[in-house]
């Protein structure tokens, strides 16, 4: 019995049972639906085994939206619990699990895949390539992320969720203070997803370095591609740190090693140190592609080229390097000497300079432009002042003497949500609307989209600006309750209303998608927004081979030149196109990773060894496999081009 006890449902409450039933019903409905409509083979051959960067990107997008829902529900529960003083909605253990899950899901399983979705869909199109450098590895990346996310998500029904915060500081996260398997899930699920992310980074660096269209020098690349490139660089140097930190954490929990233990020389702050050596660059991994998306949207809807292209690029490269110099500001209060704190204070503040350059360049891009208020542009416009507030509060936090007062308070919570929501969340929502026709071939409804935008922006302001005030009034973060006498009640209630607004906005976004699937006209043409960069030079949705003929580039905005300056983008005749084959191995291997991870979480060593052997067999299979890919014939290309309603010749 003792053995099975650790698999038990952590919080046997009606809500958990209801969600378990909901999961079972949903799974059953999906299985039934797939069987009834005979879609199993379609699902397998078109999606699960795909190596097409656009389909992988789409799957990232769907997974990210699902995780946004999960993380959003967590957020709503937290705000509901703290809406009034001495609330009894959640107990403290449950609240701790909810905010830990919220943080991990939003950063690792929502924001990251959302960014990956755009990198996958947009980058090869923007540089005029047929796919990424390693299509098969790309599928592995996606499925590893997906299995990591699934492993993390089953934690709340089998065995228990992580409850030590998304930062999972030791010794709190060690067996003594977190005895449930929750933190094992944390360590292993993030590890699996992290390996996938590392692969993505390698893939995109190689793609961008070697697969650009002829004539596209580095300094002619579109801004989003630049941001994806810089992000990939940060990924490949930051994620190995996380790999090691998680490995050490896992070993401390599973094998009783002493890295972060309280005895035998263990050093708890080393975890915090390694976590933030990864964690701070991680912030830039998220924010730079978001900057890239805004840098595509703002010029398009201002009908102007981006202002200060060179300084935009330089500032991103500088940020990529600088992001590795500042991690100590996450624990200024650890007791280092004043001079160490001063060093990291200054390096942190210096990052504001390149970021400021970008803000002003966006403003100057709009200046003298012709601004159209579409949904993506509204998000971009709202981003500028809101992100500026987030940025300047960041400078305030960077001053370590004052940080002693902000640290661990709601002020900090307000700051990083103020950076991440207008920065990353606005960007991915704007990007979704902007690239929706590119992915699916129809536009999202603008009217509903604008309502969603206003609810989100106002909801965000209501939810997070009061936190600056409660933070300065001494409310620590991660408190599941507070007393009436503290006086935090009113402002927390305002936050709750803001969160409710944001929830409404999410519902509206889902409704836009539903409404547009039903009612939006199809066949929007290749260029519905009158855009400027190469991804719009092909059809919507994009054919398998991306471009019938690889474009030739001789400026920063070749597509704009082709539209308005009679520049000839596609020269030559159709030739047969070489494409990679689909494969089921990435999915199978990642599924084995899932089993392996699950076995480790519960210390089931035999299962772990068996699944590990399975993983190695998959790798060996890849080594021995002979895969030459396949060709798309000229006739087939002609047929597709005619069907897509355009002929670029």
């Amino acid at each position: 019995m003792g053995y099975f006890a650790k698999f038990a449902v952590p919080h046997p409450s009606p809500a958990i049972y209801a969600s378990m039933i909901a999961i079972v019903v949903t799974v059953f409905l999906i299985i039934f639906g797939l069987t009834y409509f005979k879609k199993w083979i379609y699902l397998w051959s078109e999606w699960i085994t795909t190596v097409d960067h656009k389909k992988i990107g789409t799957m990232y997008l769907i997974a990210a939206l699902l995780m946004l829902f999960r993380g959003g529900v967590d957020a709503l529960m937290m705000r509901a619990q703290t809406a009034v003083p001495d609330n009894k909605l959640l107990d403290s253990q449950h609240y701790n699990e909810v905010f830990s899950a919220h943080g991990v899901i939003m950063i690792i399983f929502m924001a990251m895949p959302y960014i990956m979705a755009f990198m996958n869909i947009v980058v090869p199109l923007q540089i005029g390539a047929r796919d990424v450098a390693f299509p098969r590895l790309n599928a592995v990346s996606f499925w590893l992320f997906f299995m990591g996310a699934m492993l993390f998500n089953i934690s709340f029904v089998i065995g228990g969720s992580p409850d030590a915060g998304w930062t999972s500081y030791f010794p709190l996260a060690d067996n003594e203070f977190s005895p449930s398997v929750g933190t094992n899930y944390y360590m292993i699920a993030i590890q699996i997803a992290g390996i996938g992310t590392l692969m993505t980074g390698i893939n995109f660096i190689t793609t961008i370095l070697r697969m650009r269209a002829p004539g596209m020098t580095l300094m002619r690349m579109p801004m989003f591609t630049w941001s994806a490139f810089v992000t990939s660089i940060i990924i490949i140097f930051a994620f190995p740190v996380l790999t090691i930190a998680l490995l050490m954490g896992t070993m401390d929990r599973l094998f009783e090693t002493k890295f972060f233990a309280m005895t035998d020389g263990g050093m708890d702050m080393l975890w915090a140190n390694l976590f933030w050596v990864w964690g701070h660059p991680e912030v830039y991994i998220l924010i730079l592609p978001a900057f890239g998306i805004f840098s595509e949207i703002i010029p398009t809807f201002s009908r102007r080229n981006i202002y200060g292209y060179k300084s935009m690029v330089i500032s991103m490269v500088v940020i990529s390097l600088y992001s590795f110099f500042v991690w100590t500001h996450h624990f200024f209060t650890m007791g280092q000497t004043a001079y160490v704190n001063s060093i990291f204070s200054i390096t942190t503040m210096v990052i504001a300079v390149p970021t400021g350059i970008k803000i002003f360049n966006w403003l100057l891009t709009m200046w003298k432009g012709r601004i159209r208020f579409t949904v993506p542009m509204l998000y971009s416009i709202a981003f500028i002042p809101l992100f500026t507030i987030g940025g300047v509060t960041g400078v305030m936090l960077a001053m370590s003497a004052a940080d002693y007062q902000y640290h661990n308070t709601m002020f900090l919570v307000a700051h990083f949500h103020n950076v991440i929501i207008p920065g990353v969340a606005f960007a991915v929502l704007a990007g979704s609307t902007y690239y929706w026709p590119k992915i699916f071939g129809f536009m999202l409804n603008e009217r509903i989209g604008k309502w969603a935008f206003w609810f989100l922006t106002i909801g965000f302001s209501l939810a997070f600006f009061p936190m600056y005030i409660t933070g300065l009034d001494g409310q620590a973060r991660r408190m599941y309750t507070y007393s009436e006498a503290s006086g935090y009640g009113l402002l927390n209630f305002v936050s709750f209303i803001g969160a409710a607004f944001m929830a409404i906005s999410f519902v509206l976004i889902v409704y836009t998608i539903y409404y547009s699937i039903r009612h939006s006209p199809r066949h929007v043409g290749g260029d519905p927004w009158d855009a400027r960069s190469l991804e719009w030079a092909t059809h919507n949705p994009v054919p398998e081979y991306n471009f019938a003929i690889i474009p030739q580039v001789d400026s920063r905005e070749p597509f704009w030149d082709a539209k308005y300056k009679r520049y000839e983008l596609f020269k030559g005749d159709y030739k047969k196109i070489h494409m990679p084959n689909n494969s089921g191995v990435p999915f199978i291997m990642s599924a084995l990773f899932f089993v392996f991870g699950f076995a480790l979480v519960f210390s089931m060593w035999i299962l772990a060894v068996i699944s590990l052997i399975g993983i190695f067999i998959c790798m060996a299979h890849r080594s021995f496999e002979i895969d030459h890919g396949h060709y798309i014939s000229v006739e087939e290309i002609k047929e597709t081009e005619v069907k897509m309603g355009g002929n670029h010749k």
Partner: protein
């Protein structure tokens, strides 16, 4: 698939060149991986608790043997790649087999070394220092083990399929990996063993 005959076989197709560049980028990530291990090692090196220090358990002979075996294997696989470029399949295979045997010898010494530490009371759980030592050495050792099997697969492929653009590419990438493990070992040898043994 276009084959460019002016280049060595391993660079002769676009996909081959992508593979090699991609692998270099991966090695960049590996540098950071081992960099993090070293970071943690240097931080924890003096935190020995009640357990032994490095100076108390390290012995020069097995470490020198391990270093010599790995350095030589790195040299031999370099010869293997050279033979591959000359198109001499048999010589290449011989060099590759010798490389893997030297790698096995390295692993043998390392496992023996771990056993000795274990008997001297330095286990994975003894102190933060020993945890870190075993993890750092173990990560490198796991890389070598993985490399052994990978190399084995490549030998089988070259033996069966001959030196083709595909097998040449795989062999070359494997050689990069093997050399890289040698580079990591140099740092382990210098900054863990020698530094530990000369520490007062």
């Amino acid at each position: 698939m276009k084959v460019d005959h002016s280049q060595p076989l391993e660079y002769s197709t676009e996909q081959n060149r992508l593979n090699i560049l991609g692998f270099w980028v991966f090695l960049g990530a590996e540098i950071m991986l081992f960099g993090t291990l070293f970071t943690s090692y240097f931080t924890l090196v003096d935190r020995t608790g009640d357990g032994p220090t490095g100076a108390e358990i390290f012995e020069i002979f097995p470490v020198l043997m391990e270093t010599f075996l790995l350095l030589t294997s790195s040299f031999v696989i370099g010869l293997g790649i050279h033979a591959m470029r000359l198109g001499k399949k048999k010589a290449m295979l011989t060099f590759f087999v010798i490389t893997l045997l030297l790698g096995l010898g390295f692993l043998g010494f390392e496992i023996d070394e771990f056993m000795v530490y274990y008997h001297e009371g330095a286990t994975l759980q003894t102190s933060a220092f020993t945890s870190m030592l075993f993890t750092t050495l173990g990560t490198h050792g796991a890389h070598v083990t993985l490399g052994f099997f990978w190399g084995l697969f490549i030998i089988i492929q070259v033996a069966k399929r001959g030196i083709t653009p595909a097998t040449a590419n795989k062999s070359f990438i494997f050689s990069l990996y093997w050399h890289f493990l040698d580079v990591v070992w140099i740092f382990i040898f210098t900054f863990i063993y020698l530094e530990g043994m000369t520490r007062v």
